[in-house]
Subunit: 126 residues, 6 copies
C-alpha cells in the first residue's frame, strides 16, 4: 500500500529569500501522504504521533516539482509505522532564463523521514 | 506525454463557506499541469493562452484528494493544444464523523477543460 | 446589470518567479464577479458551471491594479450566461525605481471570458 | 481625486472563528487605496506614515462584499493627508440557507480612518 | 498586565516588492496582542473598537524578527484602553550574503499605536 | 542561549476541519526558532539538517496561543544540536461561547523535538 502525491512549488510556498521553501513544507506533504495511507488502511484520517527520523537532504525552491511517496511498514493495534521520501523531478534553470526548466533524469531526494501514526480503535472502519 | 499531479485539498483551499473550494483552484492546478507538459515538451514553462472549454462538474471540498491529469493533443510551431481532467479520489465522510474518509471506487470527475499554450520560438530548448 | 470589482495585486498573488500572477487568479476574480451578478439577479451565490471561452491576453504582475467587470447576457430558467473582462489600470515602473507606478491612460485588457452559471429553482429568491 | 476598490471577502480572509475577518484586513485595503491615491497624485507608491483615527464600526465576515474608498484631503511638501471608509454592500443570509445573499439597500459602514502618507521629494514624478 | 508576542516575518508576509511587509501586518499582530490582553483581563477575546494613534516608524522586511508588546492603560465598564509597540530585534544582512543576519543591540521601533477595545458586560468572565 | 517565539494560531493556520492545525505548522515554528538560535550563535540563518525525534503530543486549534522554545545543546565544527518544545498557553472555550478563552494555569506541551542544524564554515560570522 503506497501513497504518491505530486505538486508544483509556487511562489506562495517560498518561506525564505530567493524562493527557498522551508523543510516544514515537505513535512506538511508527508502529513498529507500519511493521511491518505490511513484512509486507505483504516477509512479514517487518523493522527500523526511522531517522527523518529527526518533528514533534509537538498534545498527546495519555488518552481520545483516535488513527488512525495510514503508507505506503511508495520502495524500494531492502533499504530501505523510509515516511511516517507520527497524527490524533486523538475527544476527551474534560472541560469538559462526565467522560464527554462529541466526534467531531471535522476530525481533528487530532498527529504526522508520515518514516523508513526495512530488510528483509535473506535475510528477504524476496515 | 502525460502529466499527473495529485494533492490534498486542505482548509487553506476553502474559498466559500462549508469548506467549498472555488473552481479557479482546479484551473490553477491545470496551469501547473500545463507547465509540466511544456517543460517535458519544450524545456520551458511557456505561457497559458486560452481555454476553449471548461466544465465544472462536481463541487470540491477541503479534505478531498484531487488527481489532475493533462496531455498535449496537437502541436503547431509555438502552440500546444491540451486537454485536462480533475478527479476526486478520496472524500471525507462527515456524515459518519469528522475524520472518516473513503477511497472512491470510481473517481468523480470534478472539472474538464481544453486549452492552448504557447512556447515562443526562442524559448524552445528541445 | 453590471458587476465591477477592483483590487491591487500584491506579492501574495505572485505564483511564478518575477512576481508573475497566474491566469487562474483572474478566473478567481471572475468567480467573485459572477457571484455578485447572481446575488443581484437571484439573491443567491449560485454555481459556476462552465466557460466556453477564456483568453489570457497580457501578463499580470504584483503591483498591478486590476479592474474586473462582468455582466449577464442571457437568462434561461436556471442558467445565466455571462461575459467577463479584466483590465490593468495601474502598473509598476520598476525601470524607474522600485516604487514608481503609472496610471495607464488606456487600460490593458489582460483576460476575457464568457461562461454560464446556474441558480437552482429552489434557491432563486427574486 | 478618489480611489475606490471593491473586493469579496472569502474564507481565506477569515482570521477568527465563524468566518470573522480581522480589522487589520480593512487597514490592509486602506493601504492599497492610499497607494493608488499616491500613484495618481505623485506617480509613486509612497509610504504610509500614520493614522490619527481608526474606527471599527461593524464586524466583517467571509462572504461580504466590501467597497473601500479614500481621498486626499490636504497636501504638504511631502505629506498627503487622507480619509478612508470601508462599507459592506452585500451580505450572506446564512439564516435562510448557505448560499443566500442580499444586496444591502443602505451599505453598512464597517471602518473609518484618517491618516497621513509621504512621498519623498526625489520620488515625486508629477 | 503585559502581552508580548514574537514572530519571524517570512516571504509569506511580503506585500510589496523587495520583501517589504505592509503596515497592516503590524496592526494584525497588535490585534493578536489586544486579544491576549482581553483574555487575561476578562476571559474573552473581546472586540477591537478604535485606534486614536498609529505611527509606522520603520519599514519591515521578510527575514526580520518582530517583538510586539501591549498593555492595558485604562479600564471603563466595558472599554479597555491599550498601548502597543512593535520592535525589530533581528535583521537580515543581505549586504553580506543571503543568509547573514544580525541580532540588533538596540531594537528598532517599527510601529507604535494606542487604541481601545471593548468586552460586552455579558462576556466578562472575571 | 534560548529562543522563545509566541504566536496566536488564527483561522489561516487551520489545515484540517474544525480549525485543527497540522503538526507541520509547529515544525515550521521550530524552523524559525532554530534560525534565531543560529543567528545568535553564528550570525547566519544556517540550514536545518535533521530531526532525530519529533513528538506530537496534543492537538492545536485556531485560537490557541502557542509559545515555542528552543536551545542549542551541543556544537561541532559546523553542526548545532538543538531541542525544541511548543506549548499552548491560551485556549478557546467554545463550550462557553465563541469568544470565551482561558489562560492555562499549566501550559499544555503540544510538540517536542530534537534535531541538528549546520552553519557552513564560510558563513560563520562569530
Amino acid at each position: 500500500m503506497k501513497s504518491v502525491l505530486k505538486i508544483r512549488m509556487s511562489a506562495h510556498d517560498a518561506h525564505y529569500g530567493g524562493g527557498l521553501v522551508d523543510g516544514a513544507r515537505m513535512l506538511q506533504l508527508f502529513g498529507d501522504v500519511a493521511t491518505e495511507l490511513l484512509i486507505m488502511n483504516d477509512g479514517d484520517e487518523g493522527l500523526f504521533k511522531a517522527y523518529d527520523m527526518v533528514e533534509f537532504m537538498a534545498p527546495v525552491f519555488a518552481g520545483d516539482y516535488i513527488e512525495v511517496e510514503g508507505s506503511i511498514t508495520e502495524q500494531g493495534n492502533t499504530s501505523r509505522k510509515m516511511i516517507f521520501e520527497a524527490r524533486k523531478v523538475i527544476v527551474p534553470r534560472t541560469d538559462i532564463n526565467d522560464s527554462a526548466c529541466d526534467v531531471l533524469e535522476t530525481p533528487i531526494v530532498v527529504c526522508r523521514a520515518s514516523g508513526t501514526c495512530v488510528v483509535p480503535k473506535d475510528k477504524q472502519r476496515k
